[in-house]
């Protein structure tokens, strides 16, 4: 089995799994309960929060735990709008659906929304961002730091400068970032950031919302006083503890992992060329600002679904960027926004490698593709 779908979900690390299993039997009490077991659980929750805050270089009181990256994105956008701090949401045409659909929902409630275009490599048009910020007041800019489909990494420093020049808020969808790039939220100085544990070898069902100033956000789930009154619901402590362990391990090895990923990805593209396979790398080349392990590759005049099916038959697991509506399978909104050439867009697959992907794996994938593309 060759698993090349790590941008969709990673395998939980052994350390994180062990922490989670232990916590499920040892930390079952409700952290809000004032008895010894509840206090023990509350302490574990606080330790996990401090550890995560340290990994991200922010105060612990700026971290709230969510049920997913999607929830974190929704909370940042809707929480700020519901609190009356913004009228306009500026985002891009290549965002994750959890941002795009949240923004569209708010549009129906009176928000002004602006979707900015990107170029063929997926980089945001900064001049248009500047203009949008100039002509609108009370703005939130929500941008995907590293694109989940193509690996494109935005020029966050320049985006941040523009956002601050116009006194707007900045939310970064950083779900794909921890496994691949060093993180320092203090340096980034964004207002909000979202993360999801299962993208960095943690468990599913748990995420993080960072908010520089939590008081700016309204809750989007009402209930008890959990998470500094911002996210009601008994905390998913085993998952949170496992997420903290996964994040600690991830940030401590990010550079060596990304170095290895770049070598493997370079090898992959070289082998495709050697095999005379006609392909287009959808997104920046490997020397530009990008995650090197997320390779979205369009194969000329091929059908991505058939390729994916054929690879699956050979135990090679990749994913389509496609979305389905009721009657047809369409190329993803990200690839369409990047204006990927028509000859390649329908044959586009995402190969998201991991540090465990070997050159032998790549050889097997290229051989399988050679057989499928005749």
């Amino acid at each position: 089995m060759i698993y090349l779908d790590n941008a969709a979900s990673t395998k939980i690390s052994e350390e994180a799994r062990d922490v989670m299993l232990h916590a499920m039997s040892e930390y079952y009490a409700n952290p809000s309960s004032l008895h010894d077991e509840g206090i023990k659980a509350k302490k574990a929750l606080n330790i996990a929060r401090k550890s995560i805050a340290e990994c991200l270089h922010v105060p612990r009181k700026s971290i709230i735990f969510t049920g997913s990256g999607t929830e974190a994105n929704n909370h940042a956008i809707k929480g700020l709008f519901n609190a009356g701090h913004i009228d306009t949401i500026i985002t891009s045409t290549i965002e994750h659906h959890s941002v795009m659909h949240a923004v569209k929902t708010l549009e129906s409630r009176g928000a002004n929304r602006i979707f900015l275009p990107v170029n063929q490599e997926g980089y945001l048009d900064l001049e248009k961002l500047d203009r949008a910020l100039e002509t609108n007041k009370n703005c939130l800019v929500s941008i995907i730091y590293a694109n989940n489909e193509t690996g494109t990494v935005q020029d966050i420093k320049s985006i941040h400068e523009l956002v601050k020049k116009h006194d707007a808020f900045l939310h970064l969808d950083m779900v794909q970032v921890p496994l691949h790039l060093p993180i320092n939220l203090e340096t980034l100085n964004c207002d909000f950031a979202s993360f999801s544990a299962h993208k960095f070898h943690g468990p599913r069902g748990v995420g993080i919302l960072y908010a520089k100033d939590l008081t700016l956000l309204n809750p989007i789930i009402d209930g008890g006083q959990h998470e500094f009154n911002k996210r009601a619901g008994t905390e998913n402590l085993p998952a949170i503890m496992a997420m903290a362990t996964a994040l600690e391990n991830t940030v401590s090895s990010v550079k060596e992992r990304e170095t290895k990923n770049k070598i493997t990805s370079t090898y992959f593209l070289e082998q495709l060329k050697k095999a005379n396979i006609d392909f287009h790398l959808n997104g920046p080349n490997l020397d530009q600002a990008r995650i090197t392990s997320t390779l979205n590759i369009g194969f000329k005049h091929e059908d991505a679904q058939s390729l994916s099916f054929g690879l699956n038959q050979q135990g090679i697991y990749v994913t389509l960027g496609s979305a389905c509506d009721s009657e047809s399978v369409e190329p993803s909104h990200v690839l369409k926004a990047m204006k990927i050439p028509e000859d390649y867009i329908h044959g586009s697959l995402r190969f998201s490698l991991s540090h465990e992907t070997s050159k032998k794996d790549i050889d097997d994938v290229v051989n399988a593709l050679k057989k499928l593309i005749k």
């Binding site: 058939s306 099916f309 389905c324 509506d325 009721s326 009657e327 047809s328 499928l372």
Partner: protein, 94 residues
């Protein structure tokens, strides 16, 4: 999966085209979707995946037989939306 096939009965062509576009009964697609995903109301992507599974079955038969006499494989090829299946012959095109 790019293969093209011809489906005939008594010399009359019933279908010619890509294997992925062959006539497949909707209930067979639903059946495969339940088998694979436990989903009786599959989305278009899952429907298409189910069709590919059936295409794979047919391609495997076409590798072993130049012409597939459907009468000999009625159980395997029950998914074909051709009525009746008697005397139907399938071959690869080109």
């Amino acid at each position: 999966m790019k293969s093209k096939i011809i489906i005939k009965r008594n010399g009359e062509t019933l279908y010619t085209g890509k294997i992925l576009n062959m006539p497949v009964k909707h209930e067979a697609i639903v059946q495969k979707s339940i088998e694979l995903f436990d989903d009786e109301d599959p989305c278009i992507i899952h429907q298409s995946f189910a069709v590919k599974q059936y295409a794979e079955t047919l391609l495997n038969l076409l590798e072993k037989h130049k012409e597939v006499q459907v009468d000999d494989f009625q159980d395997e090829l029950f998914f074909l939306d051709i009525n009746p299946l008697d005397k139907v012959v399938i071959s690869k095109k080109g």
